[in-house]
């Protein structure tokens, strides 16, 4: 794109937006995170991650985010293959069905799951009506992972669908001509070519899973403290913005790491579907 005046003019609202809602808040997080109540410079808030309660919650958050990311890949990859193989036949309709829930508010959907999964909830009602064993996962880590997968799965599907759809059919046909069966061409052609999509999907699932506090509060009954919950509580309940910001900086380190990995593997931004 030509870098003329008109284009620069068009970018003004975006730049203003980015300054007001990204740059300034980030600077404020760093300011609060690196100062104490008297405004003196300190690393204490960042180093607070070494306290048992804090690193424990970070550890649990990392484990749960990892589990949900792995399950998301396992679910999304076959699905993306199926979606790309539809080719015209209802393809867009089916993709739409996967995007449709995202049009509804994330909080409402999670709240709905709370009601569905409850011990006395809708799912158990149906199960007991059919004389099947009931499920008791609400307020456990299982429910939290479930909530993460449900909410973030589309963010895995879409980049994969995007990348796999762009793979040149001629490459696949060549593999077939040379005697590769479906499985071989999947492992040797499709999989390597879809790495950018996988990586970008991982970031888009892993980062929100790692930082969430809503899912663990609503589906975990606030019994499991993730690092996101600790930070949220420092702001809303304990009025300790300094500690909250300090721990946010620690969390940002993990986010930056996963973004660096994305940048290395997905140089062309192919996986960026959204």
């Amino acid at each position: 794109m030509k870098n003329n005046k008109f284009v620069q003019f068009l970018s003004v609202p975006y730049v203003l937006w980015a300054i007001a809602f990204i740059v300034i808040p980030l600077l404020m997080v760093f300011y609060y995170g690196l100062t104490d109540g008297n405004g003196k410079f300190t690393f204490d808030n960042v180093l607070a991650i070494t306290q048992t309660v804090h690193y424990k919650s970070l550890y649990i958050a990392l484990i749960l985010a990892l589990i949900s990311t792995v399950i998301c890949i396992l679910l999304a990859y076959p699905l993306a293959l199926i979606l790309t193989s539809l080719k015209g036949k209802n393809e867009h309709l089916i993709v739409l069905i996967f995007i449709l829930p995202m049009w509804m508010n994330f909080l409402l959907r999670t709240l709905a799951w709370q009601t569905l999964l409850e011990n006395d909830g809708a799912i158990n009602y149906v199960l007991s009506f059919l004389h099947l064993p009931t499920i008791h996962i609400i307020n456990t880590p299982v429910a939290i992972v479930f909530g993460m997968i449900y909410n973030f799965l589309p963010f895995m599907i879409l980049p994969l669908y995007n990348v796999i759809g762009k793979i040149d059919q001629n490459v696949l046909n060549a593999a077939r001509d040379l005697g590769a069966n479906y499985f071989q061409s999947l492992v040797k052609i499709t999989l390597p070519l879809s790495v950018p999509g996988i990586i970008s999907g991982i970031t888009m699932v892993f980062v929100p899973s790692l930082t969430t506090f809503v899912v663990s509060e609503m589906l975990g009954g606030s019994k499991i403290l993730l690092i996101g919950n600790v930070i949220e509580q420092e702001f809303t309940q304990n009025s300790n913005w300094h500690l909250g910001s300090g721990l946010s900086i620690v969390l940002m380190i993990f986010i930056v790491i996963s973004m660096v990995i994305t940048a290395i593997f997905d140089k062309d931004g192919e996986g960026n579907a959204l």
């Binding site: 109540g37 048992t52 309660v53 424990k56 919650s57 909080l107 709240l111 409850e118 011990n119 006395d120 909830g121 307020n139 809503v214 509060e217 609503m218 009954g221 606030s222 019994k223 403290l225 919950n229 600790v230 509580q233 809303t236 309940q237 304990n238 009025s239 300790n240 913005w241």
Partner: protein, 355 residues
């Protein structure tokens, strides 16, 4: 001290409200005909605001908060200058201590006399000369239980540690409320700053954790109505509402004592429209208006004249809405514990939650 609607939804709305008035403030004319009200979520009949505007011509700009702790930093920072706010007892004390409130001119609030003397007396715990606060709602914290799910009559906090009810217990997900239960059970003050007492309370709460189904704030109401749990710690104002919806529910003030709280209208120091704020408080203290709010939110009103107007005798003499506090022991009101005290509680609570 109340919270009804969805915690998170309110948080989102509050966040939006924080930003929007910043812009509104730029264009708004600084006329005398506005009042900025900052109140708990779902803590007032919305019709009342329209009636106020109709009667006085003063436009109400209405914001809601979810906890005292969310409200405080916003008022302290002064980004949005509110005229009238409705915090709880200990938070009013903190605001007075930190010089954030101004005295109310009671000549402009003649209806304040409708509030019963005993409530002003209780308010002296945090506002010693009754200069800053006009009581709006009050109540207790107690146990709500489902009669069909428990075997024996409940009268003690100790039931929350009964193995029999594993997975059937809902605890409050806030530091002071949770520690209040543990401290009261051990016969200590809920304003304790004694390290040994607090350590014991912490261990008690950790011991209780496996029995707890969930730590909740607002959802205790819906979960109890929906028979999801047998026992929950709840604010008395919610209890009346839940009983209307599910007649199996019973509310009790435990014998070890509990928290008696009062939420009051106060005027912050930086209020731009003090007289409008006083007009608003005066309007809220009208018996008919107080009755209307009581019907809507079911939190006990300290407005004696309004209570007399309640038609349903059962509600007027309800031991939940209007308990005779002289029958109970160990009743206390939360005090502001200072920044260090708050920090101490927060630290212990995190340890409970991360177990």
């Amino acid at each position: 001290m109340k919270k009804k609607s969805l915690k998170i939804a309110v948080a989102v709305v509050t966040a939006a409200c924080t930003v929007l008035p910043l812009f509104a403030g730029c264009s708004g004319t600084n006329s005398q005909k506005e009042v900025y009200v900052y109140n708990w979520g779902e803590y007032l009949d919305p019709d009342v605001l329209d009636e106020f505007t109709e009667e006085t011509g003063i436009k109400v700009i209405y914001d809601e908060f979810e906890t005292n702790e969310i409200m405080y930093p916003k008022v302290e920072a002064g980004a949005v200058a509110y005229d009238v706010i409705c915090p709880s007892d200990y938070m009013i004390q903190k605001m007075i201590d930190n010089d954030l409130l101004q005295e109310i001119n009671f000549d402009n609030v003649p209806n304040a006399k409708n509030i019963g003397d005993q409530y002003y007396e209780s308010a002296k715990e945090f506002d010693p000369e009754n200069k800053y606060a006009v009581p709006y709602c009050w109540g207790t914290v107690g146990i709500l239980y489902n009669k069909t799910k428990v075997d024996e009559p409940i009268d003690s906090w100790s039931v929350l540690w009964d193995e029999k009810y594993k997975g059937e217990i809902l605890m409050q997900n806030s530091v002071r409320d949770a520690f209040m239960v543990a401290l009261k059970l051990q016969g200590h003050s809920m304003n304790s700053l004694d390290d040994a007492e607090l350590e014991d309370a912490k261990n008690l709460l950790i011991e209780q954790k496996p029995l707890v189904q969930a730590y909740v704030v607002d959802q205790v109401r819906d979960k109890m109505i929906g028979n999801e749990a047998a026992i929950g710690v709840i604010y008395s104002g919610e209890a009346i509402y839940t009983q209307r919806e599910n007649s199996d529910l019973e509310y009790v003030i435990p014998k070890e004592g509990t928290n008696v709280w009062i939420d009051c209208w106060v005027i912050p120091k930086n209020a731009p429209n003090k007289e409008n704020a006083e007009a608003f408080i005066n309007f809220i203290c009208k018996p008919e208006i107080a009755l209307k709010n009581f019907d809507f939110i079911t939190y006990s009103t300290p407005n004696v004249a309004a209570r007399e107007l309640i038609e349903d005798e059962e509600i007027r003499n309800s031991s939940i809405a209007f308990p005779d506090l002289s029958n109970y022991q160990g009743l206390e009101t939360f005090h502001y514990l200072g920044a260090e005290g708050d920090q101490k509680y927060a630290e212990l609570w995190k340890q409970v939650k991360s177990e």
